[in-house]
Symmetry: C2
Subunit: 335 residues, 2 copies
DNA sequence: CGTTAAAATGTAACGGGTTTCATTTGGTTA
DNA sequence: TAACCAAATGAAACCCGTTACATTTTAACG
């Protein structure tokens, strides 16, 4: 591998001149510039950016902690992150953490060991160890989905409570009185916020909240299927099911259809996220659309601003949601 | 940020001793080691790994060129890559290229500028520019899906032709005589290989190959839906449709159901990949299962071996496939 | 032609580790 | 106690760019 000194020798100039010829061509005479360029081409010189980054102390890399890239919603967020990062000359280092705090901590260490400038977290968990703690100073981190309550951190999120309430209201307006809720992972604030929105709607409509209508889930197809199995077996079957994400809804939908329930005539189903598959279900899924790509873009942009000292407070960016009514929800059965 | 010199001063030893105390503790007397560790903790020293990488000339980073992380199959491959990389102390830098050759080239440059040691490509395209060319030497690259014909490069792949043939045979055995094929992107060798397998089966069964039964697609839900629309409108409707991936199949399936066709009674549908959604379709999709995670793992493992000089030839690893028969395929209608 | 400012170029320090080689320390043996 | 070897430690080079500062060249003007 050639280095700048070889180029300098070949061109008969100093290394400083080579560096300038490449970085600020106008600072070098055309004649010299020419000589340098010829030498660069001859030896196929490519600057060692590792050296540059080391020297500058800036890596222009950002670690993204993603519970699982296999989640279609996260895939969209990642996509957005990459776009914004590329625009501003940064690289995203994607970490598939499987929600494991040890793995998260390992990747977070990349920031503490100068391998990355900052970190984007998609879960509500602080991955840094105590050694980084500086009171009165923001950590080099933003959250692209969930609000973290124990730490002051910029966040891009959705009014999950309002969105869940809107969806629940939609179901109530269709005449549903017993609405099941298939929840997300216990550890996620999202789960609690959406549950709160669900309760808000019930309260507002004067319906009673029934613990028995809450089913656990973990945002996977399988967990939706499992919860649906329980719902079918339950005594007083609900006429609608609100799932805290689309994958759960699709899993549940399949289960209901397997046992011969018609959607939405016998049971309505609603999801959350509007992943691409939702429009292609049978029937197409009523859901909440989130601007996933913009979550990622916004988060990256915020993080870079923070790193470059352009912001010192931790903003909370609330993205808009949209209720998408498709064919999976309909009037409650009259029986 | 503290550095090794501060630690050395505080501990009253040389920087060399600090380095050794941390890297090879047995080479330092227990007493000194203790002093060093106390100093390390006191200043919260974390070695600057950027400096280490720069010094060593090894980044222990691998660039992965992924056309789109939103593709569920690729998401599984990525997952596998990450596991294998972590095991061997490497980091994956994920690049969402959208199939754009300029973006690919930009990321490939990271290898040429010493920011990454090697590259994993998921498409059949050489992202490197000519300047890296060394005849008789392998590029620091492996392909995790598609065989590249113009370049000698280790590859992990599937016998796509055999798999497509197996699926087509399955349909033929069900009595289907007119089988449509919804293809993948033109640029992908996968598309051609699967087409070849489809033809193989037809030939073997003595059925005639009909160009009119070939429909273009690009591995998205929407393209499946579009192709299905054309199939429905076609004169002599096929009784089965083989889609070159599951997303296409799911898109097509929805379209058929929308117009009232029953699956598989009226029309059979088969996919390729066995993504998680396929088991949760209605009806569940007959497909070809590929060990996606192992594609990623194998590719990373191969690349690291190559980088570490453990292999000098370019192996071609063929992974096994499995025909998964579910309810979306059935006997051809007798009419 | 001499003076002076501006432009061009060169020299060398710097960043933060690792590692080689040299030196010192410590313990063992005669 | 002297001699010797191994273990422990230190000094300094090294990786490769960038850049502040010093020096040289060029051009312009009186």
């Amino acid at each position: 591998m050639s280095n700048i000194r070889q180029v300098a020798n070949l061109a008969g100039v100093s290394v400083a001149t080579v560096s300038r010829a490449l970085q600020q061509p106008e600072r070098v005479s055309p004649k010299t510039r020419n000589k340098v360029m010829l030498a660069v081409n001859e030896v196929g010189y490519k600057p060692n950016l590792m050296a540059v980054k080391f020297r500058s102390g800036k890596t222009h890399s950002l670690v993204a902690l993603v519970p699982t890239v296999a989640n279609v919603f996260f895939a969209r967020v990642i996509s957005g992150m990459q776009v914004a990062a590329a625009q501003r000359g940064y690289t995203i280092l994607l970490a598939n953490t499987l929600g494991d705090e040890t793995i998260e901590a390992n990747y977070a260490k990349m920031v503490q060991t100068s391998q990355a400038d900052g970190l984007i977290q998609l879960r509500a968990h602080n991955p840094f160890d105590a050694s980084i703690n500086k009171p009165n100073e923001l950590l080099p981190m933003v959250n692209a989905c969930e609000v973290m309550h124990d730490i002051n951190c910029p966040v891009v999120t959705l009014d999950n409570r309002a969105a869940a309430k809107a969806m629940t209201m939609h179901l109530i307006e269709q005449g549903h009185k017993r609405i099941a809720l298939i929840k997300g992972p216990q550890s996620s604030p999202l789960t609690r916020e959406r549950l709160a929105g669900y309760r808000d709607a019930l309260t507002e409509a004067g319906l009673t909240f029934d613990e028995a209508l809450l089913y656990p889930g973990d945002f996977t197809l399988q967990s939706g299927h499992d919860a649906a199995t329980k719902i079918i077996a339950s005594e007083h079957r609900p006429s609608a099911v609100f799932c805290e994400n689309d994958e759960t809804a699709i899993g549940a939908m399949q289960c209901f259809k397997q046992v011969g329930l018609r959607i939405p005539q016998d049971i309505s189903i609603a999801g959350f996220d509007d992943i691409s598959f939702s429009a292609f279900c049978d029937p197409p899924l009523t859901t909440i659309a989130q601007p996933a790509e913009e979550f990622g873009q916004s988060a990256v942009s915020l993080l870079i601003d923070l790193l470059e000292g352009k912001i010192t407070k931790a903003p909370k960016v609330i993205m808009p949601f949209e209720l998408i009514v498709r064919a999976s929800t309909g009037p409650a059965p009259t029986s």
